[in-house]
């Protein structure tokens, strides 16, 4: 039902240039798109918002290319990843240096602080994700935070499913090692 209402809104945007329908789509999907980009940019809130705006602008100008094969959110995530990838190719090296991002502007969202009553270390999701290579980070974010299946991740990132599996395995291994080394045991 949800995808049907999305398709109806998309049709109104594509055929009648209905801005109100697009407004509804942006409101509905701004949170997952911004959360995805925030994790990709390691918590850089202003950059994430710029990229998210570009994502929705591209979605608007290319809305007729949405075929409804995948969900609208999957299509948006694909655009978001392309926007991020283009940005990184042009200008990205300044904030991502060998997987260790500048984490000065961490946000409330990115700081998934986990604390327990005793000596639980404050663990930051952005810091943990910074341990990963970019493809690994994208795969891990899409699976562990956004809840996508391997096949869907493969479609979003335009990678073979086996490559996604490899990235996920390596990413999860690195994260587990990192969390354990920093004293995170999952108990609250």
């Amino acid at each position: 039902m949800d995808s049907l209402s999305d398709i109806s809104l998309v049709a109104q945007v594509a055929v009648f240039h209905n801005r109100r329908a697009f407004d509804q789509l942006v409101r509905k999907y701004q949170s997952p798109v911004r959360r995805f980009l925030l994790n990709l940019t390691l918590g850089d809130e202003s950059l994430c918002d710029d990229l998210a705006q570009d994502t929705f602008l591209k979605a608007y100008t290319h809305i007729t290319q949405f075929r409804g094969v995948a969900s609208f959110q999957t299509w948006l995530f694909r655009i978001a990843y392309n926007v991020f990838y283009d940005y990184k190719r042009k200008d990205g090296e300044r904030y991502l240096v060998n997987g260790e991002g500048s984490l000065d502007s961490k946000t409330e969202l990115a700081s998934g602080h986990v604390s327990s009553s005793t000596s639980q270390l404050k663990m930051d999701i952005s810091t943990a994700l910074a341990q990963l290579k970019e493809d690994e980070r994208a795969c891990v974010t899409l699976q562990l935070i956004e809840g996508y299946s391997i096949d869907e991740i493969a479609k979003i990132l335009k990678m073979p499913a086996n490559t996604v599996k490899s990235h996920l395995r390596r990413g999860k291994e690195k994260l587990t090692t990192y969390l354990k080394e920093n004293g995170y045991d999952g108990n609250r």
Binding site: Q30, N39, M123, K172, G186
Partner: protein, 114 residues
């Protein structure tokens, strides 16, 4: 319990807060809507261009007496059609044209509303 299972559990717990977090809009949608290209403006320009081409066409039609060959063609076409017209095909074409006209009019009315 094997190693992979322990890892997954740990990671699921670690990412739980991020999974549940919703980002507030805080004017984001308005900022996006302000930056949208104005398709209505583009539509206006395209209408001006259509009107311009139509005017040129009309002038050429009058200058070169376009109605003369048109009348000749129409008369010969009418003669040919009246000799061997198929009513089924005729009504099918009429129906198709009617549907197209209705869809086009609806679209135009929608655009005017938006």
């Amino acid at each position: 319990m094997d190693m992979t299972e322990i890892d997954d559990k740990l990671l699921q717990q670690f990412f739980e807060p991020a999974r549940q977090k919703q980002i507030e809009d805080n004017g984001f949608t308005e900022r996006v809507m302000r930056r949208l290209p104005d398709k209505a403006k583009a539509l206006k320009l395209s209408n001006y261009w259509t009107a311009f081409c139509l005017t040129i066409g009309l002038i050429l039609f009058v200058v070169y007496r376009g109605w003369e060959p048109l009348i000749v063609s129409l008369v010969s076409l009418a003669r040919m059609v009246s000799q061997n017209i198929n009513p089924i095909s005729f009504f099918m074409v009429l129906g198709m044209l009617g549907c197209w006209l209705i869809v086009d009019l609806t679209q135009r009315m929608w655009r005017l509303q938006v």
